[in-house]
Symmetry: C2
């Protein structure tokens, strides 16, 4: 028999898989063009041509043993330097290569951070609504995840709830910005207040409380917004990043952790991340992707593509009477369920061939997530179905 | 402060790093050509040209979103099928794609297997001497690693010790074949005896005891040897594999788990491995590498290169009076330390500019590991230093 914990995980995962298969069956029955699948956060913009060219150049010009070989568990020195330089140029930070650990995506990055900082029973706070995978990542390292409530008018965090949830055992607060699933960008003021609360608490308890920034959507921001860069507001910060969304390469598993040079015990933390890469079995970020990134670090994706989608679907939903916080980043809308039971609403939407994800997945029942990283044409085709859905709820 | 466990890990890792730096300093002082570094298990044969061509072809011909995109956590169906077909062709097995989970190397493969099968406190047996990383991999999932003694004449396992170490809590036995660090290949008879003991014990305790086969060195075998394919001898078997050594691509982190179709609860185990890939933060094996592998699954490395090295260094060492089991696979020799204190021998060898790894790392003190995945020329240059070393010990 597999382990008891995994039996539960498989059962939970089967439910998601069942939904996915239901979508497939629906497509087979009524035609894929008549199914409006807004359930997946999968990038849709083309991979930048210079990134693919950098891959080919590396294969054609580098020694194959160097290209596909082992390097320091933290990554190639030149890749780490390229990331540091890129951050410094954009955010006025002062990273050096030694502060950067290349990782197997943001998921790998978060896991090596938690391995580095958590002893069994340590608590990690997540700001609801949040990416459900955090639960597993914290549990992997025997940590305990606790939730901070949102202010559901703005979907900025509820500061008083944050203050009350930090205890002697709190080791970290995860800050995902822009936020999956709401698309909200936490403002500079929000970050300043969070930093003040955390700093007050780390002084009161006499130990570090780390900010763990999870920002795979950093580059996907609209209307001139930008997520504040957290090391500028709080010293004990780990920034975790993935190139999955910014370069549309989620399958390649490439990201990094940047450690604030001002972190207490920065050098030891950097060493520990590298060791954690090894112990957890990541070993290192895929080598060819590191090489390509070194050359194409300035490549960017077509944010305008998502922005066009955002405007179309947001304006339509608001026009129909739905309620949702205005998304300023990522590629999600978080819609208030017009049915008190969000699961019933997800089922009703499905009747209209619209696939959404219930907010319970993100620890925020009563809402649903819509991912607009789809084709503009699919959104256009779906609009009559949303009209029907609104009618059904008397909006 | 980082976690208590990681503080220990960082301290241990610093010792290894210190040795590595010492080697670098030695090279700076006396010239790299005069340092004989046999400490690292890093492949030296060129990456097969068809593998690099498969990468370029994939980048030039496939849709970039498909090429670098998410797929099922278990991998692309066509890659999984290519692996299954390749195994069936070579070993007469009957895998289907659904039995294969593509992984982030063998390290990723072992970690998703342990996540899948271990509840806290479950025991895993490793046959000494063994790859030290197993300790961390088992501990990651709150398992307890126990050691089985070797028969040091042949470095086949001590069967009676194996029998006595299997308890009610034993969930798995790791079998690494060919063996790092000895280079020994466990014979078919060895595997049959292990399978009998395990089968008897799983009947006695009324629950599965899994064979976890770790075989990154499967393709590196000499003199017509071949490591027995374990699913043919024992049903409850997970085979973990990496292409790191067979294609010289250790930096790319690509491997797989193959689940025996005859395993009790095979389907649930396969689902769990895929879920574990996600939860542990691997998510999936790097996508471009999966694509390249699908095309170049039959590519092989130049085993003759290692074989030539093996003969040169083994014959020389035996000729000088050193004792070591004849290596039939991998690229390691495990030499009996002529000094009762193996650490002293490692230091003495270093005086002669020979870098070796002490057997304590592999839970087998009194021996040292020599990795001959180096250039033939370096071995030739090193021979006088081995002569001096032998003389110093009066061999």
């Amino acid at each position: 028999m597999i382990s008891k914990k995994m039996q539960q995980e498989v059962a939970g995962s089967s439910a998601i898989r069942a939904m996915f298969l239901e979508g497939k069956e629906m497509a087979a029955k009524i035609g894929a063009e008549n199914v409006y699948d807004f359930s997946l956060g999968n990038p849709m913009t083309p991979v930048p041509a210079e990134y693919n060219q950098a891959i080919i150049d590396a294969v054609q010009t580098e020694s194959s043993l160097e290209l596909h070989g082992y390097m320091d568990n933290a990554g190639y020195p030149e890749t780490r330097k390229a990331v540091a330089d890129n951050l410094n140029k954009r955010f006025g930070t002062d990273f050096e290569g030694k502060h950067i650990t290349m990782t197997v995506g943001a998921a790998g990055a978060l896991n090596i951070v938690f391995k580095t900082i958590l002893d069994p029973g340590d608590e990690v706070l997540a700001l609801a609504p949040y990416f459900g995978e955090y639960r597993g990542y914290v549990a992997n390292h025997q940590g305990v995840l606790k939730e901070v409530a949102p202010n559901t008018d703005t979907f900025q965090p509820d500061f008083e709830d944050l203050r009350s949830k930090i205890t002697e055992k709190t080791k970290a607060v995860i800050i995902n910005n822009p936020v999956n699933p709401t698309g909200v960008v936490y403002s500079e003021e929000t970050i300043q207040v969070i930093a003040e609360i955390m700093d007050e608490k780390q002084k009161a308890y006499g130990h570090e409380i780390y900010m763990v920034s999870d920002e795979p959507y950093r580059e996907l921001v609209y209307d001139g917004n930008q997520a504040p860069f957290l090391t500028k507001y709080y010293d004990n910060t780990f920034v975790t990043y993935s190139f999955s969304k910014s370069l549309s390469i989620p399958g390649e598993r490439i990201g990094y952790v940047a450690v604030s040079p001002s972190m207490e015990g920065c050098e030891q933390a950097c060493s520990a991340l590298s060791v954690a890469n090894r112990i957890l079995g990541f070993v290192n970020a895929p080598s060819l992707m590191q090489k390509a990134l070194t050359q194409a670090i300035d490549a960017t994706t077509d944010v305008a593509y998502y922005d066009r989608n955002r405007k179309l679907i947001y304006d339509k939903l608001i026009g129909l009477g739905f309620t949702c916080a205005k998304p300023q980043g990522a590629f999600y809308l978080f819609i208030k369920s017009p049915d008190a039971d969000e699961k019933a609403f997800v089922q009703t939407a499905k009747k209209h061939h619209i696939l959404l994800v219930g907010g319970t997945t993100f620890s925020c029942p009563g809402y649903v997530r819509l991912a607009y990283c789809v084709s503009y044409e699919m959104i256009e085709r779906s609009l009559p179905a949303f009209e029907e859905l609104a009618k059904e709820y008397g909006l």
